[in-house]
């Protein structure tokens, strides 16, 4: 790994560790190897959003060309959000692509992701299914996102009705992830979800 990149990440790592956000447990970062090329990030779901109470893990890969090129970041924790792929965790955020600037840091990336969770941009979606629900059925979107946060990120809000539907699907041979994705994508219409999985 290029010296510039590792040196820079070393500093940024310290910046995050010392930041006030870490002090309030809002962001966290952890090293995965000695040469600072792979990190694990964690952000708390922002308050007053369906993600509140959840902890979201991120995979951060630092390219050799850092900081002239952006780090590769994706969600490891599954999340229901218009700008984050519900399947792969890929993120659609301009600063992680062409709007990246060499002056940005791990800390600004984590804070930007937190801001993205609080204010989705459905017109520039990463996940078209989620974006459609967000625009067409905002209430279903919120309860779905809360349910996902409960299952994958340790949030406290969930819907009993949703849990029962998932159990029904699991009863006929689906696994949990499969059932959740299908039901969420069909606005919790059980018949449509069954058709999608088995049809």
């Amino acid at each position: 790994m290029a010296n510039i990149a590792s040196q820079r990440i070393k500093r940024e790592f310290k910046e995050v560790i010392r930041s006030e956000e870490v002090a309030r447990c809002s962001i966290k970062v952890e090293l995965l190897d000695d040469n600072y090329s792979q990190l694990k990030g964690e952000i708390a779901g922002p308050p007053d959003t369906p993600y509140e109470g959840g902890k979201f893990l991120l995979e951060i890969k630092v390219p050799e060309t850092y900081p002239f090129n952006p780090p590769k970041v994706k969600f490891l924790t599954k999340v229901w959000h218009p700008n984050i792929s519900s399947v792969t965790g890929a993120i659609c955020l301009d600063i992680l692509k062409d709007q990246w600037a060499a002056a940005m840091t791990l800390r600004t990336v984590l804070l930007s992701l937190q801001a993205l969770m609080a204010s989705p941009e459905p017109d520039d979606p990463q996940d078209a299914v989620v974006a459609r629900q967000y625009k067409g059925f905002p209430e279903i979107f919120i309860s779905t996102a809360e349910h996902w946060t409960n299952i994958y990120a340790g949030g406290s809000r969930k819907k009993e009705e949703y849990s029962k539907k998932i159990e029904r699907l699991m009863g006929i041979g689906c696994n949990m992830d499969q059932a959740l994705v299908a039901l969420s994508g069909c606005n919790w219409d059980l018949d449509k979800a069954i058709e999608q999985i088995f049809g």
């Binding site: 010296n3 820079r8 002239f68 090129n69 890929a90 600037a101 990463q126 078209a128």
Partner: protein, 456 residues
Amino acid sequence: MADIFNFIFGVVRNIFRMFSSSRNPLNNSLNIFIKCNTGNTLTVGLDPKWDIKDVKNIIAPKLGANPDEVKIIFAGKELDDSIIIEDCDLGEQSTLHAVKLKDLSIRATKQKKCSLLRETVEDEDEITLLQEKNNRDKSHFYVYCSVCAAMKIGKLRIRCSKCKSGAFTVDTDPKSWNDVLKPNKISGHCEQNDCPDGVFGWAQFYFRCAEHICQGENDIAVPLYLLKNNLRKIPCLACTEIKDIVFVFTCREAHVTCLECFRVYAVLRLRERQFVLDDSFGYTISCPVGCENSLIDECHHFKLLTKEQYEMYQKFATEEYILKAGGVLCPQPGCGEGIIVDLKCDKIVCVNGCGYVFCRKCLQGYHIGECNSVDNNISIDNIQHVTDPAKALQARWDEATNVAIRVTTKPCPKCRTATERSGGCMHMICTRCSFHWCWVCQIEWSRDCMGTHWFG
């Protein structure tokens, strides 16, 4: 008592004799050219310990004048009698200018205590003169010297913008790079006898490499004015280290990188084909923070790259120029010759390069009819049947390369650059022409693509 006195006197006399005898055969003398406003040039050996008064004493007889009728000009300043040669920063074979005054009274009014022009032009810096003085040893101009073929410390020199004579004195010192780089900013007057400007003229600034012996009047170097001494200890924005010499970008925020990070950044963007061809500045890049209006406006700064990297820079710049002018690049492996042809013509012959004949649209061997699959191509090359076994072997590799490129890449719908998709979504942005396109549809990226197959 008298003996002691005599002894001391003797010692003093000996010292004096040693001192005065050192004036004749000079051991560590500087060979200096003295150019006179009458047109002739003298070569003299000067002792670095001498002052300007001594120089005048030598020059005056040769000019047919009294020493106090002569003034010596160097780097835009008249040198005071008391200035010592070694303080003038004169290099071996530098040129001083001697002027024979016609009227002594002019001189009396003009005479003032002149300080020497120092290497300390700082853009809008609040650094005080005192600080500059303290940092004099560390503070330099940097130039690209074509003689040394490297970045070197440079010296600022001044000449008349009209007649190019160095017998020119400035009215004020330059305060910023703007004063130095832009014409007609600093006024002065030219002492050259036949100069049309004479009493009122404009100074022209130029640079010399300080690290090789001056090879004459035309031995000038390009200023790398974005390189500065890091007097304010600003950390590199990329590696965060504080280095002595830094690259300061032209944006309003004046972002700073160290030279190593500048090189890494420039080579990276070069390889990504992210340089832009600017009409006034040439093939260049902007600040790594992405600030507006921050293009590097002097392309000689890319001479900081290695020779190989600079050659790549020149090659890419030429290619971009040809493409911008509506030309094409020969697609034959190892050729890449730029060809500018009539826009209406699809059949292109690589005239000055390898002789390959190809189709402008698909960049494959020339064919009649639509550009479909390559297998249907009727290549003009096929008509010739003389086979060189080495070339045949090479051709097999070339063909395999072509197949690999065809299988793993898709051409950008706009500029036809073969593009590989290494992962991520279907939204492609061409690294050469910045066109946004869809990997699935191979047309311009749209909301439909986003809605239906963003991720495949």
